[in-house]
Amino acid sequence: MKLINTLPEVFEEFNEQRKNSFITALEMKEKGIPFVGVFCTYLPQEIPLAMGASVVGLCSMSGETIPDAEKDLPRNLCPLVKSSYGFAKTDKCPYFYFSDLIVGETTCDGKKKMYEMLSEFKPVYVMELPNSQSPDALELWKKEVVKFKEKLESHFGVTITDEQVRRAARVKNAERAALREFYELMKLKPAPMLGQDLYKVLYGATFKFDKEAIPGEIHALVERIKAEYEAGGEDSPRVKLAGRPRILVTGSPIGGVTEKVIRALEDNGAQVVVFENCSGAKAVDEDVDAEAPDIYEALARRYLNIGCSCMSPNPNRIKLMGRLIDDYQVDAVVDVILQACHTYNVETYKIRRFVTEEKGIPYLSLETDYSTSDIGQLNTRMAAFVEML
């Protein structure tokens, strides 16, 4: 194992992974490996992986293309939707450009309607995601998973066998297990790293296309962090990060510019220990039963279980959050809502009640977008919240 890089350098490398993988993606394309672009955690990545395709996340995290998007879309729309559309339209994101097929789901209204527009100039396939988790919903979603497989077969002229899907499920399970092993390091008190660094790794890992290599790499990183933590000394996180209030971050997906929230919290003396949202536990908490008699049903079950606010009701978010609050000794919860994200915004009411009444810890929700204009206020708000803890 190379030990030439310091831990901060390793974190930075993960941070740059999205960009660094442009070249890898290009090389893969040249070798004829298909790319499937996705938007949402509900997508069963096992299916495209089973046919040897690469899966890449297209959720855009920068405000750069919003003005272009606003030529077609209303301004009062979630920045994630606008930015994603903008990148697709301007072809500024290479991953959009590389994607042979873009797959969306009927999640929130903004995304649904955006896919309709996107399909005018990109090959788009939309899976019909039910908005509840009832047995009927599972039935429908299972059919959708099978239909998605058939779509890939016809679109790319391949056959996908059950065995290939099972194999992909095992690979994904191993990846999820590795990522869990990594973020579970944060159960340590004091935590062994800042939430910003945790996030860099979780986000960067989604842009590593060799899924089978991920567990080894993450495991090495975990060992390294543990060793530095044990070693102690003045510079050890054990000393430097001691005494910080421990925060759980939940809400709309964050990343890119919205990391400003994590930074504002941590610059003001707090410590994010766990991400419940789509950049964290929501996406990797549960495995697929790869040995189930019906692998499609197993996939459907696993993915439908995700506790996103587009589900009604959405008990699984509360369940997962409750468990995380206990396991990570969380002192307070911060709910990050992207502007105009109605489902998460409405849900703040229930989440606040759950966090403050049932869990008895402070809760703060805040609305933000992809601009940097609110950084001053954000800092004050986060500092005040931390002072209160």
Binding site: Q377, A384, M388
Partner: protein, 255 residues
């Protein structure tokens, strides 16, 4: 023990020199576009060599190099208000560019807060706009609206409210009636905003507008709880900062 608290807000910069429980001196300056200079000036005016700790707050809190600690205006307003009016359960502050509501526990510590910093409609800026158009000086606002019949202002946004006021004038409404309408509209918005925290007990009204009875009584009406102010309301943030300076905690968690 002598401590100094300086609150650099968007409109005014305030300072309090505190000796234990008694205020030795206060000072206030317009912030204008020079928060750094104003803080330095105020510091120069109030500082004595015996001062053991200087705490800054407000949006310009990072701009005074001599400060020992920086604490947010939320915490400072809460601490200052609890000192000025012991036993209160909530603080409402209408500042120059934002508005906040803070919920306190019995010990005067912050348990929850809400800030409206996205929109100027419930802030001092709205009043400045009104005074400009209606040609009334802020200091005279109480007399200006006394015994008036308020005209309802419906616009939610400062920019639209400005045109609404202009059309009301064109329709021949009295300036004082319109002004009272504006005062009530600000207080109504602020009260609704504060009610999201479900306040109980007495409310302390801090910030520059708290010295006007017109605002206090309208706020009380909409919030449905007794609203207290103090002659020193405007200094609540600076006083809170000075009090925080008395507890010589290490600056670890300071913003």
């Amino acid at each position: 023990m002598l401590t100094l608290g300086i609150d650099c807000g968007s409109t005014t910069t305030k300072g309090v020199l505190l000796d234990g429980d008694s205020i030795v001196e206060t000072a206030i300056l317009p912030t204008s576009a020079r928060p750094r200079e104003r803080m330095a000036e105020l510091y120069g005016r109030l500082y004595r060599p015996e001062v053991e700790c200087t705490v800054t707050t407000g949006y310009g809190r990072a701009l005074l190099p001599q400060a020992d600690r920086q604490v947010t205006e939320i915490t400072c307003h809460a601490r200052g208000a609890a000192a000025l009016s012991p036993g209160i359960g909530c603080v409402v502050d209408i500042g120059g560019q934002d508005c906040k509501a803070i919920l306190l526990d019995r010990g005067g510590f912050v348990v929850d807060f809400a800030m409206n910093d996205k929109c100027a409609a419930g802030t001092g800026r709205f009043i400045e706009m009104m005074c400009r158009i209606l040609d009334c000086s802020l200091d005279e606002v109480d007399e200006f609206v006394r015994d008036r019949r308020p005209v309802e202002i419906t616009s939610m946004c400062t920019v639209f409210a400005e045109s609404e006021i202009i059309s009301l004038l064109a329709e021949g409404h009295e300036r004082g009636d319109i002004a009272l309408g504006v005062v009530r509209s600000i207080c109504r918005r602020t009260a609704y905003f504060a009610q999201r925290l479900s306040p109980a007990g007495e409310v302390f009204f801090s910030g520059g507008l708290a010295r006007f009875e017109a605002f206090r009584s309208a706020l009380e009406e909409f919030i449905g709880l007794p609203v207290r102010t103090s002659e020193l309301s405007q200094f609540a943030g600076a006083l809170g900062a000075a009090r925080i300076g008395q507890k010589k905690r290490p600056a670890a968690s300071a913003g």
